[in-house]
């Protein structure tokens, strides 16, 4: 048991495996390749957003504006497709990513240069970005029929039975893993989150790190904005409303510590997959979708309790006073 608690990713994989087996025994339709593929395709956007969010949380930050960023980037990309439906798909993707990057840079600048707490900045931009959709589009929505074929067909192309959304997610995940584990800057994120003062003494500057993570999270949100809109075939001001909390929940379930400095790519992906399996299993289990929210709430709480227990084991207790101090500091 303590082995599993220490290897959180393994424990989470095991829980997901048990869950999938259980659901499959109850409803054999769940165990087909088609269904597994559709779960993966459905969850890929959440996976990518969770990776971006994880990098922000690693530096002790938080980005509440990801879903609003997604909606605005998706809207701009869709409106480009509405006006120029024959552009190559890369143009639509580039516009979405560029929009996301600019929005991420706005967050990053306010956090890094003005030193405003991330939760305050992104609480404000959460409202601003989503509202800009209406300011820009006058409250109109872009429907599937107006987007053109090039824009919409891209995410429906499949390789080995899995859609391009999944493969893009795989590329993003591998890039994130290489960046976080193999590069100096990536390791620096853990240092900054683990102990900002020590990191500063090691010559790691916090401000560029913050600018970087909010830009990365923003770019990923932009990319997901294109994918979301092209997959679901509609762009308007309410898409992905409230999704930022699902993204943070995926991180928390995956063992990313909100206190910074702790989190892995595999953890964030598994956390997102866990939520994805639950969402897709409910209709198969003939449970009304109204249960979805309550169940994910219970899962989040269970995950943080388990994670807190696992983290406590790692701390060496030197003085009884230290425990008191640690308890009070939290």
């Amino acid at each position: 048991m303590s082995f599993l608690l220490k290897h959180r990713e393994l424990a989470l994989s095991l829980i997901i495996a048990i869950m999938v087996t259980g659901i499959s025994i109850y409803a054999p339709a769940f165990a087909t390749f088609e269904n597994a593929a559709s779960v993966l395709n459905d969850t890929s956007i959440l996976c990518m957003l969770a990776l971006g969010q994880m990098m922000v949380i690693l530096t002790r930050g938080i980005d509440l504006s990801v879903a609003s960023n997604l909606a605005l980037s998706g809207m701009l990309s869709a409106s480009l497709a509405q006006n120029y439906p024959d552009l190559p798909v890369i143009a639509f993707i580039a516009v979405a990513i560029a929009t996301g990057l600019v929005l991420g840079l706005i967050n990053g600048s306010l956090v890094a240069w003005l030193g405003i707490p991330p939760i305050v900045v992104t609480l404000g931009t959460l409202a601003i970005f989503r509202g800009m959709i209406v300011v820009y589009g006058g409250g109109n929505q872009v429907n599937a029929s107006e987007m053109g074929d090039v824009f919409q067909s891209f995410p429906k192309v499949t390789f080995f039975g899995l859609s391009t959304i999944f493969w893009i997610m795989a590329v993003v995940a591998i890039a994130a893993w290489l960046f976080l584990s193999m590069t100096r800057v990536g390791r620096g994120l853990y240092a900054v989150g683990g102990n900002p003062v020590a990191a500063r003494y090691c010559g790691i500057d916090l401000a560029p790190q913050q600018l970087l993570v909010y830009s990365v999270a923003g770019s990923i949100s932009g990319l997901c904005g294109y994918l979301w809109v092209s997959r679901y075939g509609v762009a308007y001001s309410e898409i992905a409303s409230g999704f930022e909390l699902t993204v943070i929940a995926a991180c928390v379930i995956g063992g990313v510590s909100i206190a910074g400095g702790v989190g892995t790519v595999a953890g964030a992906l598994l956390g997102a997959l866990f939520l994805g399996v639950i969402v897709n299993a409910l209709p198969v289990m003939q449970i009304t979708p109204f249960w979805q929210m309550a169940i994910s709430g219970i899962v989040i709480l269970a995950a943080v309790v388990v994670n807190a227990r696992a983290e406590k084991r790692g701390v060496k207790l030197i003085l009884p006073e230290a425990r008191l101090a640690a308890g009070a500091a939290k």
């Binding site: 305050v120 931009t125 409202a127 509202g131 109204f290 807190a308």
Partner: protein
């Protein structure tokens, strides 16, 4: 003891006029005046006593919760589940009304359910030592999820007349003051006195500035934190009573997204998200600024989502501007 060398610890220097003028509350007063003048200029209907009193309906419930949220943020905690607590408490009121309960039960059950939800949050934060932001993201899903499970896609709309009267009529006929606004004003006075004039209030600042030092000075940090979560839940439950009485229905999406509006008001009010600083008058001013700005803009038919852009900008600019100004003022003598 008396032989020890005298330590020269000077008292704080008397506050200069510039310091007083640059206080956050002074900036908020200027903002509030700007909002009132601006609204009067764009709409002739703004400065109507009945219109203004109706405007208070739209922010008094949030304002009540903001008072408790201010204390929570002051001690470095946060509660994102307040809107979900309102939903669950409103459901409880609805179920009680369906069961034929009388007015006293309907008035009590909301705050009771809210306090229970707050106690659950407080238990997880203080006993299991979890970060409050994560706990309340979880309970936000759980509380609203439970309301959704019970309600499905239905709504409870059968409420007795004596309950809806509380939400839809004036407590005082002239000047016309709704129940919710009077309750908010009364609570604001109590909160201001407790926070700024009592030992308990000083303890909250101590916890917010340094919880470890506060614990070592004998302040029951965790007990106070727990009570603040219960208080926040209780006031969210009270807000649920007023809201349910006002709109006369309970739907799963009741008060959706209010947690962000409430936290925005608290932060705009000058309560530091890092804990340890902030005042009740500041929060009250921020509530009025946000409430009246929203009301004035909707009078001239600005869509709600565009208003939210302006309020988001207001939040960021009002926090960023003093920082920029301070930096420019610091640079000038050096350069």
């Amino acid at each position: 003891m008396s032989l020890a060398p005298r330590q020269d610890v000077a008292d704080a220097a008397p506050k200069s006029i510039a310091d007083r003028l640059l206080r956050w509350e002074s900036i908020l007063v200027v903002l509030l005046i700007a909002v009132i003048v601006g609204n009067t200029a764009i709409s002739p209907y703004f400065l109507d006593i009945y219109n203004l009193s109706d405007a208070t309906y739209n922010f008094s419930e949030k304002a009540i919760v903001a008072l408790a949220m201010a204390l929570l943020i002051l001690v470095r905690e946060i509660d994102l589940s307040v809107a979900a607590i309102i939903a669950l408490a409103s459901l409880a009121i609805g179920l009680a009304a369906q069961a034929g309960a009388g007015l006293p039960v309907l008035l009590l059950i909301g705050p009771l359910v809210g306090a229970a939800c707050g106690a659950f949050n407080g238990f997880l934060v203080t006993r299991i030592a979890l970060p409050s932001i994560v706990v309340t993201i979880g309970t936000m899903s759980l509380f609203r999820g439970l309301a959704q499970v019970v309600l499905g896609d239905q709504a409870i709309t059968q409420y007795p007349k004596n309950l809806t009267a509380i939400g839809q009529s004036y407590l005082i006929k002239w000047p016309p003051l709704p129940y919710s606004f009077v309750i908010f004003l009364a609570l604001a006075v109590i909160f201001a006195v407790v926070l700024h004039k009592t030992a308990l209030g000083r303890k909250l600042y101590a916890i917010g500035n340094n919880p470890v030092a506060a614990r070592f000075s004998g302040i029951p940090v965790d007990r106070i934190r727990f009570m603040l979560f219960v208080l926040t839940g209780l006031l969210a439950g009270l807000a649920a009573v007023l809201l349910t009485a006002r709109i006369g229905s309970t739907r799963p999406n009741i008060a959706l997204g209010w947690e962000l509006e409430i936290i925005t008001a608290v932060i705009l009010g000058g309560v530091s998200i890092a804990g340890g600083s902030g005042t009740i008058p500041g929060v009250v001013l921020a509530v009025f600024i946000l409430g009246l700005a929203t009301f004035g803009l909707s009078l001239v038919n600005v869509p709600g989502i565009v208003i939210s852009v302006l309020l988001g900008l207001l939040l960021i600019v009002s926090i960023a501007l003093p920082i920029v100004v301070r930096r420019l003022m610091q640079k000038r003598p050096a350069g």
